[in-house]
């Protein structure tokens, strides 16, 4: 019997969640987003920096982000900003992630009724 792959990759959805959360605070371009992820996670999440762009393109295609080219200091940058659709997606992803981490923490603590380890 073939093994069933019912659990998605553990990191699936994490870059998306982080990007949406960062862009909620204001528009950013790719390099800024990667630096912000690194700074705010204490470099715990290390990705090939270029892989952030496919996630951004996909979110833009879904209408969660808009992209706009702007000249800054003599260079042209592509800035991304959150749309109302993106805000709703962020709320849904954040709720899912909170439920997931709560459930995992419960298991790590020994189960729902288990006493907290000293």
């Amino acid at each position: 019997m073939a093994a069933r792959d019912t659990n998605p990759n553990f990191m699936n959805g994490v870059p998306e969640l982080l990007i949406l959360r960062l862009l909620q605070q204001g528009e950013m371009y790719g390099y800024e987003i990667v630096q912000a992820i690194r700074d705010r996670t204490g470099a715990s999440i290390a990705l090939g920096e270029g892989v952030v762009y496919p996630v951004l393109h996909n979110l833009e295609r879904d209408g969660a982000l808009t992209a706009q080219r702007k000249p800054v200091n003599g260079r042209s940058r592509i800035y991304y900003s959150l749309t109302p659709t993106g805000s709703r997606r962020l709320s849904a992803l954040a709720a899912t992630w909170t439920n997931l981490t709560t459930a995992i923490q419960t298991v790590l603590n020994g189960g729902q009724n288990a006493p907290t380890l000293p």
Binding site: G30, L47, G48, G50, Y53, R61
Partner: protein
């Protein structure tokens, strides 16, 4: 030295291998183009950051490339987003069989509208705008120029549409079968179409224009062959350039 139009298909880029892999995997050319621009900008920022930490330009560049990710990582990340694929990669059978028919129909309709307009403007009483109905005319008469340009549009439409389909296939690095399917359809339509325009049914009316499709002898067959060859020429040149590039790199 690549031909000028080939520069459009092979623009200068820092990541030529990545570009080819993404296009071959079906990622839409506009997403590939923007991805490469963003990676180039990101690499510039990373290099500047590493240099500000005291690295030499070459060491900073090496460190920046390592931080950006390998070609495999960068390609896999993009290919893992199937929604970024182009329609021509997801449904080539539809794009390369339906689109040429629709585009050709649009151009032919426009051309026939111009024919009707010219008929009303320059030959309001004539039973037909074709052949002897012109009567004696000179090459540079306005009506002659008008009808010849309209004729060129009608006859050139299959070639124009063929070039569009060839360009679409080349940009997406699709298999040769798809543009050949399009060009075959276009050549068949060109070979079998025949325009008729007359006022026989209602002599005092506006006149009647229609297009029939049927297998006909020469010169229609030669016309189909010309359409096929002229439309195929840029694609053949592009394929030749690809082979030469591969041979030079191997």
């Amino acid at each position: 030295m690549p031909l000028p139009f080939l520069r459009y298909l092979f623009p200068e880029t820092l990541f030529p291998e990545l570009r080819e892999r993404l296009l071959s995997a079906g990622i839409a050319p506009r997403h590939v183009r923007r991805y490469l621009v963003e990676l180039r900008d990101h690499l510039t920022d990373l290099t500047a950051e590493e240099q500000s930490h005291g690295l030499s330009p070459s060491a900073a560049r090496t460190a920046a490339l390592a931080r950006l990710g390998t070609i495999d990582t960068l390609a896999d990340a993009m290919i893992a987003q199937p929604r970024l694929q182009s329609l021509s990669a997801r449904a080539p059978w539809a794009v390369f069989s339906l689109t040429p028919v629709l585009l050709l129909a649009t151009l032919w309709l426009f051309s026939l509208c111009l024919l009707r307009l010219g008929w009303q403007l320059f030959m309001p009483g004539a039973p037909t705008p074709f052949g002897g109905a012109f009567g004696p005319h000179h090459l540079f008469d306005p009506e002659n120029i008008y009808f010849q340009l309209d004729r060129a549009l009608y006859l050139g439409a299959p070639i124009l549409v063929g070039w569009c389909m060839v360009l679409t296939a080349a940009r997406q690095r699709l298999a040769a079968i798809w543009p050949i399917v399009s060009l075959t359809i276009l050549a068949l339509l060109a070979a079998t179409s025949h325009v008729q325009a007359n006022r026989l049914a209602i002599p005092t009316g506006l006149g009647h224009i229609r297009v029939d499709f049927a297998l006909r002898p020469a010169p229609q067959n030669e016309y189909a062959l010309v359409v096929l060859l002229i439309a195929l020429a840029p694609y053949a040149l592009w394929k030749l350039q690809v082979h030469r590039t591969l041979a030079l790199n191997s």
